[in-house]
Symmetry: C2
Subunit: 445 residues, 2 copies
Amino acid sequence: MSRKRIHLALHPYGVGGPGQHGLWKDPRVAKNASIDINYYIRQAQAAEHALFDALFIVDSQFINATYPSHYLNRLEPLTLLSAVATHTRHLGLVGTASSTYNSPFNLARRFASLDHISGGRAGWNVVTSFDTGTSKNYGLDEHLDYATRYGRALEFVQVAQGLWDSYEDDAFPADVERNVFLDPLKLHDLDHVGEHFKVAGPLNLSRSPQGQPVIFQAGVSEEGRDLAARVAEGIYAPGGPLQQAQEYYADIKRRTAAHGRNPDHIKIFIHGGPVVAATDEAARLREREIFEEDNDFDRHLALLGRSFGAYDFSVHDLDAPFPDVAHLAEKGGRTGAAKIIERARTENLTWRQVAQSLAEFRRSPFVGAPETVADRIEEWFDAGTFDGINLAFRTEEELELFVDGVVPILQKRDLFRTEYEADTLRGNLGLPVPANRHTAGATGA
Amino acid sequence: MSRKRIHLALHPYGVGGPGQHGLWKDPRVAKNASIDINYYIRQAQAAEHALFDALFIVDSQFINATYPSHYLNRLEPLTLLSAVATHTRHLGLVGTASSTYNSPFNLARRFASLDHISGGRAGWNVVTSFDTGTSKNYGLDEHLDYATRYGRALEFVQVAQGLWDSYEDDAFPADVERNVFLDPLKLHDLDHVGEHFKVAGPLNLSRSPQGQPVIFQAGVSEEGRDLAARVAEGIYAPGGPLQQAQEYYADIKRRTAAHGRNPDHIKIFIHGGPVVAATDEAARLREREIFEEDNDFDRHLALLGRSFGAYDFSVHDLDAPFPDVAHLAEKGGRTGAAKIIERARTENLTWRQVAQSLAEFRRSPFVGAPETVADRIEEWFDAGTFDGINLAFRTEEELELFVDGVVPILQKRDLFRTEYEADTLRGNLGLPVPANRHTAGATGA
């Protein structure tokens, strides 16, 4: 391999995620796409055909009627990915699950099961849950605060990784002559006792060909970045303008090294919704059209409200300065309610301007004819903004335009693979297989 | 339909469940069957080809090295069934999940997701978790007591059913002209506040073609039977000698009616591991051979220990009278530790005899040439012992013998379907689709 290559993941949004609230009206989008397993299988097979690294399924658990169409009614990630697994052979299968609202034993087992079903292609995107309303679906009156959620997340991942090592790789000789199915010395309890969890183990599931599922994370806040640097092997990064993406990339790699880890063993994916057309002009027009189509101010406000516990901003005068809502931000989520407030104050923005700017933030930097989009991707890659892109498309046709138009150019420039390196997600991402902690001579990843 | 028909489910045991501890040595059994999704897909497709009602996946979460081979290393039921779903079209997909060690919102969502993925074929076998050691995987020092586990199970099912009704059936008009994707009046919070759970809802998933997943249960104790009579639509029954099966069947139907429910809307499945051969004599020989092969006393003791919190009976004199272990039985599980003790006392049994009798209990009543097995099944069915049989086979070949030999005879006698009645599990089991509780004019199931 003459140069470092780009990783690509596909992020399907069914009938429409944030900033795509009108997508369900597109005649090319099936009205039930978000709950139709065949839609996901088609997306996965298209991604695998294009040699993408992974299918990335995000998640949330709190809704109200103002939420994006795809959020209202969608399949649960692990059941979805298990169904997709047997229809693909190389594609990584990354699913979001909350460390705040699950038990480590249950969740570790489900990801290990997906890892077996897929032959070593499972990835877990660890989230601490963003919507404060989620807590009320789990018996809590209040969302757990930031520090508790991130402390819990770190311990949760460590417990899961401990459970995944319950069996050493050669625990099952299944030797008929010696009448030994299991070598009991290679089955290990965990006996974890920590601040948030007590888990005895062992897990009733052996390791897959990739050793352990790959840990993804989506840290933006201080706590999130630190968690990522400690345990993440992939990051679902916020993206944004080039300079911001560069700073984030450098910061995560620096923090990872500071924790004694190889910074190459954490792959940073930015979110990208490329708009490809025959000419640059046509692509620009289409991008503006999409933006205007979705430029529904009520929806922007509802999304802004998500960062403040589904706060309803619409009852206020939108052209007054952004209000003092710091008390709502204390338990805030991923996109950083505190940062929104800070920026609004610094730049003296009205509420309308804040909501509008969030929509602008989601506009893609990758717009143009195939050659142009490939140029922009290469430029961003070389500028140290990402290791991979998490691609979202509005329709199956737009995915096809990217795959047929842009991917071959990236391949010609030796920026993207021409065949899979491995059958496992770790293998394709260039991540090491963690040695089992109980195996003699194990040194860790 | 001239007469009532039998339902059949398939219960795959991979490398060997209870009483099959030597099965992994059979050259026809793949050493990794229990973790190989293709084994389950083949089993499911064979069951569907034979027009069976369902694939039934049981589960447990606590192991030690003495447990049956299949328990040591097996796939998690919901990921497994999701993978199987897209390779089948009519077969019901019933998975075991614990109401003691899950949260209702998470679990309701996963079963609803499987229900969508399968187009209305999901069933949930509600268990309260039998192995007392499971508690230590979930941060509890002590297993919850019987009353608490069953109280929690009832409320858990009611919460799940409430969440499954979050959306009315016509909640998504997806009307482009009127610009209405969701009709917000048809999305309902649950706002459940009970003894064990507080769950606000709504669930972010709509109803499937069968309205709600089918509820299975496996109640043997007083609390278990009562729970079944209140909420179960299918039962995984203990079986045993004919008279015992008759009493159980009549008791469950009576209790169901006493709760104001139609006793026909609870389908009782007994466990059966038929042994079919060309002649009765050959089948009897084979059955004895299997029994002797698996007649490993240490394994019987380990299984007996399961009912007493993985108690190690092997340290005692096995030919002394059964000891006073009532204190270990207080939190006991499904097969009724208390009943074992009572019987041991009444019949003045030694420990060895108790362990041996548990093994005898698992011997199948359905042994013989195909015609004989069909006769026995008809006889048991007409005697009011079951609505369906949960069939377990040692090998894929033995499943084939049953399907090719016995099923056609049952069909000739009009005891088993010759084509599927429906594409949903409810449809094939003859269970009603529960009306959504929020829909005007709804009367309930």
